[in-house]
């Protein structure tokens, strides 16, 4: 139950967002986040978008490791 997933907002309507999580589309509540726009990335938990995240750049780990 505790697994969160990051997803991209595809569309928004009536407090709900259709999000794309690695290709799987699902409908989640967008009521907790104002100013969401299609194209934004969010963290989804228990059917609710709970936080806006920067993007889904998986290369982040490499830049972190470069500092070592």
């Amino acid at each position: 139950m505790c697994v969160g997933l990051s997803a991209k907002v595809v569309s928004l309507k009536d407090g709900m967002a259709i999000v794309d999580a690695s290709g799987a589309k699902r409908s989640v509540s967008a009521q907790l986040l104002s100013n969401l726009n299609p194209g934004d990335y969010v963290m989804v938990h228990a059917g609710t978008a709970i936080a806006k995240i920067t993007d889904d750049d998986t290369d982040e780990t490499d830049s972190l490791l470069e500092e070592l």
Partner: protein
Amino acid sequence: MTDTRNKEDGLAKARRILKEYDGPKVRIMEVCGTHTHEIFRQGVRRLLSPKIEMISGPGCPVCVTDVTFIDEAISLALDHGCTIATFGDLVRVPGTKKSLQIARGEGAKIKVVYTPLDAVEYAKEHKDEQVVFLAVGFETTTPSECLALSNAIEENLTNFSLLTANKTMPAAYEAMKDATDLYLYPGHVHAIIGNQICEDLVKEGVSGVVGGFTGREILTALAIGVREFEKGKPFFKNCYPRVVTGEGSPQAMALVNEMMEPCDQQWRGIGLLKNSGMQLRSSYAAYDARKKFDLSGIVGKPNPACRCGQVLQGQIQPQDCPCFGTACTPEHPVGACMVSSEGACSAWYLYGELTSKPLTDETV
């Protein structure tokens, strides 16, 4: 943006650091059940130098759900005729005498939902039933539960309430800090609450890294963690900045704080931790199932054979429990740590050291 070749180099570098680590012995506690599960599934433990020990902490919400809470839920279903709406994992958690699953066989009405918002929809469509949602979870789940309740109130539903056992991570960090040299903090929790608590713990000498959940993200966080640890000074490093920002998610926190207040909370196997939970404020008493149905007086008794408490505090590994794999299996769990796939006992049972597959580039 780096090219593919560099990407592989980064992963290889993290693996090499973890394999060749020869600094002081370090015990790393992954606090979150999702990390426990992924660390096993991805075979991370097999990559580590013998000087690095991973221990599982108390961050699986199912595993720390107190026996009394399960007994209360069963009483709501069987004695008060309520419909219990819940995340699926909780159904098999043992109470004093039985689980909700067994109670179902005795007539309890239990509806498994993916999100608390679905429980509100169910209540809307079944106005003749009293629907109680079992509100467990940490900072990541609590906002959805508050949102569900706020929607129910907006819809004027009087047949929806919450039975709360919500918990907060910082209390667990405080309680477990002597059991570990380095925390692997869960990224999604800190996406909500921000990083201040981690910075504050550094002042108490507690080190940690916050990390994501893919194999690549976990290895990166661990590699950076051990490199910093070697330097010998307490530190905190955010290894998941695309998700975890300094301030967290103010809107989610504002909703929770409007509806809930901190309280002392029972943690299964660990005991009462001060200020480690959230309960509904008295202005929401009409939606607090514990008050609405007067559940006072229910006190559960855990199975004395179960060693979950020690497992959750990193004092023993699951296979040190005499019940592990014999009396206690995922099909017949004796304790809560064997129920959810995020529980340490279940993860050890399912993936155990020998059977865990090695981390390959395809798995990250």
